[in-house]
Symmetry: C2
């Protein structure tokens, strides 16, 4: 078999066999198939798609391309959550300790921010001393002692995905559903999960702006996850405005700690609300609770009793961070006091937010990455003071840009100002946080 024969068959819209897919992914992993052959196949998959059988085989081959973590000696159900990415999307920081505190093992392999979206690893790293580059042994140690661990994808975990992901970014083949599904599920599958909840974001700050396409992706994720033996569910959730108030790394960590402490302001509540919802689905899929209602009741207690915060604190300590951040986020996180007000251009009602633009504005001044190897400035960010549906007066604040450099702050504020649409009439309908739960 030759790589070009596999490419030709997909080019011609045929269905690839298990043998062909395995041959190709093994070649990607070993480096015997050239990058230009990989990218030709990626484009052929982008344009001609894959059926469910191919999708499953591709995911399995990528999953098997590296080490598979084996936590079978940990006598707990293993579950995780994955998000397709958004702006101000920080639920991982709440979900992991909440679900772990309920007795579920959460081996969370997370990513970095890129473009308008943030990344869990970048956020955690703003905690002084916190390490996200755990070895497999360290990861397992933290998992056993704390109940959850957070780390980046190592070179040994789904290396074929790592290789293909870098090529997809450079060849405009990122948005292909079969490739997105295989990338997500192969990494999660290699972490040895029993259950998985996927937060598929839809709206102006998501990779999928159209609901129909996000729905198609969600169904493909659920079918593929289940086919690989991971009990999988997807929630279609709103990303038409930043989630919560904070956008920017240390500001988002602060918001999470405040929520775990029961101190979160009104605008931050959707973060907790969505985290509880996703966590409840995880508990049900992990067979900890029989109903969402029971799971919600359990989670409420875990949060209000301080057990979730305690679990978070133990994780911070176990991963090398300073646990005092939990008692005094302002004192231990890298935050700045310099702020720049984003004024409302007129009086009216917030009708729409170009959420990706908000993310890009903050990334451009150091809060995120424009290129994969950009360094992050942890203190930079934006805290929204309004939500879609709110009424604002002219010159009233839409939110504050946090940044030491005034010129940069002004630039970001201008971009954010034009990202918010202020209309004359109040909206008849406010976007629902959870749009749909997808089980198959």
């Amino acid at each position: 078999m030759r790589p070009q024969d596999v490419i030709r068959r997909k080019r011609d819209g045929e269905h690839l066999s298990r043998e062909e897919i395995t041959f190709f992914i093994e070649g990607v992993t070993r480096g015997t198939i050239a990058d230009y052959q990989i990218s030709a196949l990626l484009m052929a998959i982008y344009l001609n798609g894959m059926n469910d059988a191919e999708q499953g085989m591709l995911t399995e081959a990528m999953l098997n391309s590296g080490n598979i973590l084996d936590f079978s000696h940990i006598a707990k159900p293993k579950a995780d959550k994955h998000s397709t990415g958004g702006v101000g999307d920080k639920t991982s920081l709440l979900i992991a300790p909440m679900v772990a505190a309920c007795g579920v093992c959460v081996p969370m392999i997370s990513g970095r921010g890129l473009g308008h979206t943030g990344g869990t690893l970048d956020k955690l790293e703003t905690i002084p001393g916190y390490r996200v580059d755990l070895s497999a042994t360290e990861f397992e140690g933290v998992l056993q002692s704390v109940g959850y661990a957070m780390s980046g994808q190592t070179a040994e975990l789904a290396p074929a995905d790592k290789k293909m992901y870098a090529l997809r970014d450079a060849t405009s083949t990122v948005e292909a559903i079969p490739l997105i599904v295989a990338s997500i599920i192969s990494k999660k599958g290699a972490a040895g999960l029993d259950a998985m909840v996927i937060d598929v974001k839809v709206g102006s700050g998501a990779f999928m702006r159209q609901e129909a396409r996000a729905e198609t992706l969600a169904h493909a994720l659920v079918r593929t996850g289940n086919a690989l033996g991971i009990r999988t569910r997807a929630l279609l959730t709103d990303m038409n405005q930043p989630l919560g108030r904070a956008v920017g790394n240390s500001l988002e960590v602060k918001e999470c700690i405040q929520l775990l402490r029961g101190e979160g302001e009104g605008g931050a509540q959707p973060v907790l609300e969505l985290s509880l919802e996703l966590s409840a689905h995880m508990l049900v899929l992990a067979h900890v609770d029989k109903s969402l209602a029971a799971a919600h009741e359990r989670l409420q207690k875990i949060v209000s009793s301080g057990e979730a915060l305690e679990c978070f604190r133990r994780n911070v300590e176990a991963q090398g961070g300073d646990p005092r951040v939990c008692d005094d986020p302002d004192g231990f996180l890298p935050l700045v006091t310099e702020t720049f007000k984003v004024e409302s251009p007129r009086s009216g009602f917030i009708t729409k937010v170009d959420t990706a633009e908000v993310g890009h504005a903050i990334a451009a001044i150091g809060g995120g990455r424009v290129r994969i190897d950009d360094r992050i400035e942890p203190t930079v960010g934006f805290v929204a003071e309004v939500k879609i549906g709110d009424s604002v007066r002219s010159d009233e604040s839409l939110g504050l840009v946090y940044c030491r450099d005034e010129a940069a702050a002004r630039e970001a504020a201008e971009r954010i100002q034009s990202a918010y649409e202020v209309g004359d009439q109040p909206l008849s309908e406010i976007p629902q946080l959870v749009k749909e739960v997808i089980n198959e």
Copy 2:
């Protein structure tokens, strides 16, 4: 502009602008665009196509990627012929001297054989001493003194095509019509032609087996050539059996010299017939003759007077070859006497030939290239003794395999035997050599 933005637009089926195409091809030429980005665009072009405007701009950008030969000081019309490739297709060796002897300047940039097809350069190199690696100065010197010159594509001529062609072979994007057209016309255009005739082969030994697709290719070639200011015509010709009798490098040169000497056997006559037809179209397009009939009359005289052979002899001498090959091909070409008979498996009529298989059988034993860097064995070949429509008796010879290695010869003979279909009934219709002339 970034390469991935151009890739994305073609991926989404949009029409690329001149600026985008030029940016990309310049990046290919300079090496600033990665191979994996080039191959992703090639696949997107393969699957989404190009309209006439894009096709013209792509061809022009590739043409301008390197040096453009300027023969404007040679006060003759410049014309060339190109073939899309076949088995036993040796017309270049006849057309160049015939047309040059009629006063046309023929700067012929030729290629090597690959897969089942032969290449003019490989054939010419079987003439002792003949050089096909002429420098630009040498090429022009031969062109001026003889009227025609034959050489390979230099690194300076359409380098973007060279780069893309190598990638197409490895990524199954060879057969895309916009890429075929741009590759052919960019090379021919860089040779500064006034007129060009393209022999588009169709049938079991051609790259295009289906007539409809060959026709589409022919129209695209003619439109693109004319748009670039080269008077272009395409002939759709039959490749459902080897052209003439000989397949294999020195055997094909021998057949050509015999035809120029007026000694060709009956089975070889289609080579002369097709060469005359293609040459006549060249003379008309080059404005040497007003009608095909007048051109044919002129060409017949040129051949029968020996002037075409004389021109061929002068070219051989000018390119370093031994001109005595023209008087005694058997004495000066590397030929072998060892032959292996391909027997007809039964009595009946030749109804069909898997011509590509004949080519592959000869390539496999050294007469052609399986891989681009394979060495050619010049003596190896096949000489057919039957044509489609002929009646054969059981055990009668279909032809002879020429090869010193008996085991290899036997293997090739078996493959060729099964490539010939012998039916009970004579065919009602023998394939026509020229199926269609395409002017627009």
